[in-house]
């Protein structure tokens, strides 16, 4: 396989790490043609409140399930939120609606927010929610080591992909670097 510029192969081991290359000019102009409806709403009014509402709703739901202790309830709330936000911000790529001919097909939502700029208010907020939720849940699980480890791994999973370091970084397990 020939090396096609941007996507450079870091290693040829089981773990493949590469960076999503910059899109060609034509694709960039398609991205710029219309506002990105998929990512812009995080800056909209009410988009921040919904995180607290959802977390509260999750907590209440887990509380009313019989036989669930406070510790388990907090841990479940924490990991549900983390998994949900991971899928939404870091797993799914592209735009669910068809309006720009797939110009964002290679980028996940976190990378689409604010056109990939780092440390913007929305990104700071979205990073602070899982951290605060983690601190709260460790506190309310009374610093039990097992719960702590579970919660900590969950929070790492959503914080690492949010770092500027991970911007456009892709990690593949047992799979080659995509050709195109």
């Amino acid at each position: 396989m020939t090396d096609k510029g941007g996507r450079r192969r870091r290693s040829s081991s089981i773990l493949q790490v590469y960076h999503e290359p910059l899109e060609p000019v034509e694709q960039l102009s398609d991205q710029a043609a219309l506002p990105n409806l998929n990512a812009n709403w995080v800056n909209a009014k009410g988009a921040w409140t919904i995180h607290f509402v959802l977390i509260l709703a999750l907590k209440i739901i887990y509380d009313i399930v019989p036989g669930v202790s406070q510790e388990t309830s907090w841990t479940l709330t924490n990991i549900t939120y983390m998994i949900g936000s991971y899928i939404m911000f870091h797993h799914v790529r592209g735009v669910p609606f068809e309006f720009n001919g797939g110009a964002y097909d290679n980028l996940n939502m976190w990378e689409q927010i604010d056109d990939g700029a780092q440390y913007t208010p929305a990104k700071k907020f979205l990073l602070s929610v899982p951290i605060v939720l983690f601190l709260l849940s460790t506190h309310y699980t009374h610093y039990d080591l097992t719960y702590f480890i579970i919660n900590f791994l969950a929070v790492l999973a959503v914080i690492i992909p949010k770092l500027p370091y991970s911007h456009r970084m892709r990690v593949g397990l047992f799979s080659g670097v995509p050709e195109e």
């Binding site: 097909d105 780092q118 440390y119 913007t120 990073l127 601190l135 506190h139």
Partner: protein, 521 residues
């Protein structure tokens, strides 16, 4: 002494600091939190502390953009200088020598066009340069209908189809075409040229794969370019090469576990060569490798098959097996606009996603009626239209292809557009460049015109020079275009054929043109 004093001072400061901290609202909570969270577990506390420190650092960091700022800061003087230096390209590029030569001699038709047309210089010529294959242009029944429609509906619908543009006649035309070809549905576009350039991007998006013939026409090329899909080319009309390309695509996608839409785009009768495609084989391949097929029937609709239904009828293929049949209503039907026929879902999808359907005014009602009427006329009496035309094609071909020493006809035997290219031996022996060939063929066309026969050349330049798809190097062979019509009698057709053959011989044996054996540097 000194040490003791320092110690007391330190303790005092510490106490003061603690007192000050305790005065801060919420400090008690923080202390309680830190106390309860420590819990004799320094490692865990350290991890939490690191997390908090990282968090605070993240919050304090200034925002920056990751997209490349690829502009240079210029001073005002530099900007002025650049503006002064800039000379705009002409809006219309200067004509080449060939274009100049051609435009000077451009014949102008006065009055109605037909098999016998009157030119601006007063002469009446035999018109073999029009797609009026069945002379429906002169059909009184169609004319009468057109005038009636014009009086009731006016000239144009003045709106896109989705915005008050659709009239009953459009829906009727769509139903008529669908019935005629034998598909579930049909959608009528306002321009034939932009039909396929709009159908392709309506279905193919970035990341999808389109396999296309190298020789496809300009309109398809535009469509492929707009679609942003990955284009794979196969050698012109070489279906073995097509199979190779398709197999490669399938193997690649199986390996990378990528699942995209896959399309095959080709023409039924090729615009640049006149050759016919092998549809049964195409269908077999598309079923085997799971592709969808878009067939451009622009030049074959109303031409091929017993009743003119196109390639599907000519090669006995069920039209429902072709995913999209794109055709033109502008050529032999003497109407205007284009259409795409296929399953209902395919058709309905285009009503909102096909750019040229959504964003351009609907077809004038008159043209929709003419399309319906023309189809009716052809269907009702295929012998009088298709039959007569085919006989004329046979006669014309007989005068040109085997008889002429200089040219061969690349078109399929049923194709009323005869494309005559110079024999490869001739081109090789005389070392003719593409430009030389164009010039010679233009001379032939001029010579024909002097003998009152109007023919034209294949205008292949836009295809050859089209830069949008850089990976496709295809050069259309220069050709003379002779369009046969049923409006001429057998005798007239034969006579025109002889005249064209003589004109070719005359031009090719002219002294200045005979470069035989003369090596060119």
């Amino acid at each position: 002494m000194e040490l003791q004093e320092l110690q007391t001072h330190l303790t005092e400061w510490l106490n003061e600091a603690i007192a000050a901290f305790q005065k801060v609202p919420g400090s008690a909570v923080l202390i309680r939190y830190v106390r309860s969270s420590y819990q004799n577990d320094p490692v865990r506390s350290a991890i939490e502390l690191v997390l908090v420190i990282f968090f605070i650092r993240y919050l304090m960091a200034p925002a920056y953009s990751t997209s490349k700022q690829n502009f240079i800061k210029l001073t005002d003087d530099e900007i002025d200088e650049l503006v002064d230096e800039w000379t705009p390209e002409p809006l219309v590029p200067n004509m080449t020598v060939l274009e100049e030569m051609e435009s000077e001699k451009l014949p102008i038709i006065v009055g109605a066009t037909g098999p016998k047309s009157k030119l601006a210089n007063g002469r009446t010529v035999t018109n073999l340069a029009s797609y009026n294959f069945y002379n429906l242009n002169a059909n009184e029944q169609i004319k009468e209908k057109a005038i009636q429609t014009l009086r009731t509906y006016g000239v144009g619908p003045c709106g896109p189809p989705q915005f008050y543009g659709t009239q009953d006649v459009h829906m009727r035309a769509e139903a008529d075409i669908a019935n005629y070809i034998g598909t579930e549905g049909c959608i009528v576009y306002a321009q034939a040229f932009s039909t396929i350039s709009s159908v392709i991007p309506a279905f193919c998006k970035r990341g999808d794969i389109i396999v296309a013939d190298r020789a496809v026409n300009y309109s398809i090329r535009r469509g492929l370019e707009i679609s942003r899909s990955n284009i794979r080319w196969y050698a012109h009309n070489d279906l073995d090469d097509l199979e190779r390309v398709m197999a490669k695509v399938v193997a690649e996608q199986a390996r990378t576990k990528k699942l995209t839409r896959r399309f095959l785009v080709t023409e039924a009768l090729f615009e640049t060569t006149g050759e016919m495609n092998d549809l049964p084989r195409l269908i077999e391949l598309k079923e085997k490798y799971k592709f969808r097929i878009m067939l451009d029937e622009t030049w074959s609709f109303g031409v091929l098959g017993r009743t003119g239904r196109g390639l599907t009828e000519a090669q006995n293929v069920d039209p429902t097996q072709v995913d999209m049949i794109v055709g033109s209503l502008a050529g032999p039907l003497c109407a205007g606009g284009g259409f795409c026929a296929g399953p209902k879902d395919v058709v309905e999808h285009q009503r909102l996603t096909a750019a040229s359907y959504t964003f351009s005014a609907a077809l004038p009602a008159m043209l929709a009626i003419i399309a319906s009427e023309s189809l009716h006329v052809i269907q009702e009496n295929p012998e009088a239209t298709l039959g007569v035309c085919r006989e004329n094609i046979r006669l014309m071909r007989a005068q040109l292809d085997p008889k002429s020493d200089w040219v061969i006809c690349t078109s399929a035997p049923e194709n009323p557009i005869l494309l005559l290219v110079l024999k490869p031996q001739v081109v090789e022996a005389r070392r003719l460049t593409a430009e030389d060939q164009e010039r010679l063929l233009q001379e032939v066309a001029d010579e024909c015109l002097a003998n009152n026969i109007l023919v034209t050349r294949l205008k292949g330049a836009p295809i050859t020079t089209h830069m949008g798809l850089k990976d496709n190097v295809y050069t259309a062979t220069p050709a003379l275009k002779v369009c046969v019509t049923s409006g001429l009698s057998k005798k007239e057709t034969e006579k025109a054929g002889i005249a064209i053959r003589h004109a070719i011989t005359k031009v090719m044996t002219k002294k200045g043109n005979n470069k035989l054996g003369v090596p060119t540097a």
